[in-house]
Symmetry: D2
Subunit: 180 residues, 4 copies
């Protein structure tokens, strides 16, 4: 999940200690978006993954993910996180229906649901989002890369995702019928 929370400056922003206090008391609402490229028939050709080189040189990959702030709609949160992570020109196509294709429940206990976040219990509404524009990650340490669906599903790529994001990519691929 996103670790950008401390850099948020929107009205719903919370200081770290306050957020920490709340995280011990209620589940936190998240949105998650699997960015995809589509051909003219709507078929998914590529999956977009954020990546970051860790201090030890290993690569960590993730889908777009972030908190829904107080007073913010799910659509606004999706738009904010997508354009923050993929850049102002990424032109994400937030889907017309709010119904997520799945709900990922993150718990500090990694064995609870298969989705894992050591910091919190989060309930994430998950969407497949077509991204048409140029992606140039605005966020400091993050890069972004388009992978073919086959590559995105490879065990070595899955192994670079944590918290269950690899599984979320598989569920998304199944939803769009690109899982073999």
């Amino acid at each position: 999940m996103s670790t950008h929370d401390v850099t948020e400056t929107a009205p719903g922003w919370l200081p770290a200690d306050e957020l920490g206090h709340i995280r011990e008391r209620v589940p936190i609402v998240y949105v998650e978006a699997v960015p995809v490229r589509l051909d003219h028939l709507g078929q998914v050709t590529h999956v977009g993954l954020l990546l970051r080189v860790r201090p030890d040189g290993t690569v960590s990959r993730a889908v777009v993910s972030g908190r829904v702030l107080h007073g913010e709609t799910v659509r606004e949160a999706l738009w904010r996180h997508l354009t923050k992570d993929l850049g102002a020109d990424s032109d994400p196509k937030v889907p017309p229906s709010l119904a997520p294709f799945t709900v990922a429940e993150y718990f500090p206990d990694p064995d609870r649901t298969g989705f894992h976040d050591p910091r919190q219990h989060a309930v994430a509404l998950c969407y497949v989002v077509a991204v048409d524009g140029e992606c140039t990650p605005a966020q400091d340490a993050l890069e972004f890369r388009w992978l073919s669906v086959a590559d995105a599903l490879k065990p070595e790529v899955a192994g670079e995702m944590s918290g269950g994001h690899d599984r979320l990519v598989r569920l998304a691929a199944a939803h769009v019928q690109r899982l073999p």
Copy 2:
């Protein structure tokens, strides 16, 4: 939405002042269930509505709705609220997929989304749930009644629901193709 929160005694329970503090800072996760009776072909024949007679004699109706507690899964929250509101023998059939048919966003501002909760910003995952058993509401002030789909959609019944629950019933009726 449910006002049962203060009577909760599960591990995720919070004192009223603490919950009030949190409600001003983050959106709260809810589940909402439209209880339905199905015929053998899966067609919805009846919609179940909770009702309560207000001190002034007017009737208030609602679908099942309640908070997801810290540490609780969405499925557990659905089961808990359904069996609390409809009784231990109601035998609700929590659906196999976690994907809600819609997401209702409640704001203190009634004009924001059409869903309204004066107490809080809540994000509710909404499900149509088949209920096969005997429904005898366990909760003190609440009664429960099955209405034909046509009756549940009548303006006079809709007028007895608040916060947008009438609209949620229409969205659910459309989802199961029982909206005229």
Copy 3:
């Protein structure tokens, strides 16, 4: 439903008498698309309806609808009918998931399901399709117009649709949470 079948010249094309023979024996596969305009947050702002002035001067409105030909995928059929009815520059965004938001079952008997086609039993996979481009209907007698969601749901507009297309528009509006 579309009456373009006789003008089809693709490989799956069938002469009228042959198609009539088949229509008495098996249900026919259709795709139907409710064209929509979205704002940058994915919210539906307008619904597109085809219209035709009948010989008696009355107006008939419909969503995009047509047969899936033998050997053609659902995506190809959606693309073909959308670009035929809305024009080559309409740029329809066929959605990444093949799962329709509903299935409309058309029967010659108007009381069977509420969807009605005097010619046949048809099973239509129904999609909400964002259309970004310029729409200039290629098809002879048809025009095309964008209506605000509120206008598209008005009784006088609904009254100009037949076979249940008005209901399909309501179901689509509910799916994208634009039904009041």
Copy 4:
């Protein structure tokens, strides 16, 4: 897909040569159901698979699948095929929404979509169906067995399914979040 078509005696029944003629001209509408057992929280615990011992001793497995007849609704077809294949006491819970979780497109060409039927182009509406009752397959050569989700996803079990039914089980498992 089902090969029961020739034994059908319902009004929509067609002699084999007539059906063969039609299969060369239009796609055929099918319903497919992945039978599942749920725990009280709606979580899928088991997947039901039909099986048949072939003359050479090998085992062939499949989900429930069959044609929608002329004049028959999708719900009626689901009920008919489920109770025919799993027995009159199987008590299948046809879901309240007609929207399938996916659409499987079968072509004689095995490379077209990954779903394959040498006899025809079929468009199958696919559902996950909870089955509560006793399953005693009514159909002559078929048996039926409940497998744990983990077993149903094993390569050796997948290898006993043909036409893409193994993939359909994986897509269904993803839909109900039981895919690892």
